[in-house]
Symmetry: C2
Subunit: 355 residues, 2 copies
């Protein structure tokens, strides 16, 4: 609460019916306390010097009435809005909630409040959400990815507020950027797999053309394979939600089609875990005959019968670093663009081992 002493009094409407009332204004508190609007405003914002007596009277009146300030009017008058727009593609995949937790944690120590927008990996939706959010004149924007429409770029660079693009660094940022290189992540994983001695490698991932980060990982992956004179022995793309069932199903299909594969690379841990469960069910020798790897280091999965090889996407750190950049610049006169490149690490788990 902006003022710790202030909590509206309890007052219930008549039961079973919500009453329609004019919202209270500063003027109501002013009249109830016999103090000018301006001084009431000072008390409620803890600004300027106010005598203890006046302060108490105002607080008492505000509490008794149940006054909640109108931030719309306040924001218009002060041209300060303590909101940070956070724009992400999805809430359902266990990836972004952690980023958001990182952001929240940092912003908790500031006046700033995150406000979420979800695009469902749809560029038009992204433009729309961006437009809506910017029209509230937030103090900053944190937005996933680097790929956006020309209109989106224009809105961001004209907004006159700090912008942090997160989760990916392979591209041309509008302003600041925090994340990992997914191209590099793909290369790193490929190198691990090759070094371990696997040669017949299959890939499974989402079909979504808008998941640019998954696409970059695959590009990096195949590039490193190519350097070693290898290419993907099989690949398959899916649509719809990620889950164990999807991973099982695709894995069964791929192994049926290409039985001599010795490694399966999945674009995320959830389908990877599904594939792993399938392989264990079938009694396949993992990682001897067949290795597997996913991406994201989803913590929830610790506790599977066998730990899937994966790679940390540094989600929480990304959220924290992005929030820090916004918090630093929110009240500054001029902005400086920062680049924070985090380095993901391969966790071989139990499904990727030297053969």
């Amino acid at each position: 609460m902006s003022n710790d002493d202030f909590t509206p009094a309890a007052r219930r409407g008549s039961p079973g019916q919500t009453e329609q009332r004019r919202p209270l204004t500063l003027r109501d508190v002013s009249e109830a306390s016999g103090v000018s609007e301006m001084t009431v405003s000072r008390v409620l914002r803890n600004r300027g010097d106010v005598s203890a007596g006046t302060r108490e009277r105002v607080l008492a009146a505000a509490k008794r009435l149940g006054y909640v300030p109108n931030k719309i009017a306040g924001a218009l008058a002060s041209s300060r809005v303590n909101l940070v727009a956070v724009i992400i593609p999805s809430l359902s995949n266990m990836v972004f909630p952690e980023v958001i937790n990182g952001i929240s944690k940092i912003l908790e120590d500031t006046e700033l409040q995150p406000v979420l927008g979800v695009t469902h990996y749809n560029p038009e939706q992204e433009d729309k959400v961006l437009y809506e959010m910017l029209s509230w004149r937030p103090s900053g924007v944190i937005i996933a990815g680097l790929e956006r429409s020309e209109a989106g770029r224009a809105m961001l660079s004209n907004a006159g507020i700090p912008v942090v693009e997160i989760m990916d660094v392979d591209g041309d940022p509008v302003d600041s950027v925090v994340g990992i290189s997914h191209h590099r992540a793909g290369r790193m994983m490929a190198q691990e797999i090759i070094d371990a001695g696997y040669r017949r490698i299959g890939f499974m991932g989402t079909k979504m053309p808008q998941d640019h980060r998954a696409k970059k990982r695959l590009e990096g992956f195949t590039e490193t394979l190519a350097k070693a004179g290898l290419e993907l022995a099989d690949q398959e793309f899916y649509e719809g939600g990620s889950g164990f069932a999807k991973g099982r199903e695709m894995t069964e299909a791929m192994l049926g089609r290409t039985p001599d594969l010795d490694f399966l690379y999945y674009s995320n841990d959830l389908i990877g875990a599904g594939g792993l469960l399938y392989c264990l069910d079938k009694g396949l020798d993992v990682p001897g005959t067949l290795g597997l790897a996913g991406f994201n280091a989803i913590e929830l999965l610790d506790g599977l019968p066998c730990r899937l090889a994966t790679m940390d996407s540094c989600r929480r750190e990304v959220g924290e670093a992005a929030a820090r950049i916004i918090a630093e610049q929110a009240n500054a006169d001029s902005f400086t663009s920062e680049q924070v490149v985090l380095i993901p690490r391969v966790t071989p788990g139990d499904t990727l081992r030297q053969r």
Copy 2:
């Protein structure tokens, strides 16, 4: 976008540097187009009659300049804010993201936009978030649970906007309510378990005193056990994140302590799945010797070696119904409180079977 014809033109700032500029106003568009501010406003909102020529000139100017309207000023002048405050305890447990998806889907067809607040199951944080959100004068509030501070109740009932409390119906709502009865859910699951012939039942769940819904399920559960002359043979509460590892660990501890249990009831599917994996690892006869059940019907888990018995909490439907109530009442003069009680169903899966 509020006006489909309008998309700001692409314009990049000088590379590597964000420029600080005064945001554009209606007046800038007015001057650039030679049309009065009032008429510009009409065009951009699609309100009132404007000639096609004027309309085009205005749109062209707005697009060329990259104008983004200031909703703060608009909201203050019109006292209309097309935001719906959505207040939930957590994003990390796969439960609320689905509720949010339901809400978003319904609101997509309206002018309304959801804005998220997260309380981390902390009542003080809830009051704070509520206060912050209400100070933006949203068109409605959707908030998880029925338990809140007196201050929270007061803020909600005095806000003069439709309020929908979701996920739970066991209690005294401020206004409308949509959800399932968790008490009943607990009773139903207990009955299934008893009917199937299990007698030595252990419970594992979160220690969080603020997870009222989990607590109600446990109360209903033990109540039905008691009616059958049974009581819990063992129970354990944990803190911290839910995941497979936590479920394994607790299950191991409980079975070590109370080896003659014939059923394990978990307060959520994630720890339940961890427990299930542990039991399968140990080669226990599930559901013959030992039955298991969770709660939530997390879709992600389809594809485990064996389907955990669970109960649907109707998350998506809850979100949709709540959003519908807000959408209906947002522009109405008076509100009516609605009660939507959904009935959860037990899915026995492979871990709860007649003995």
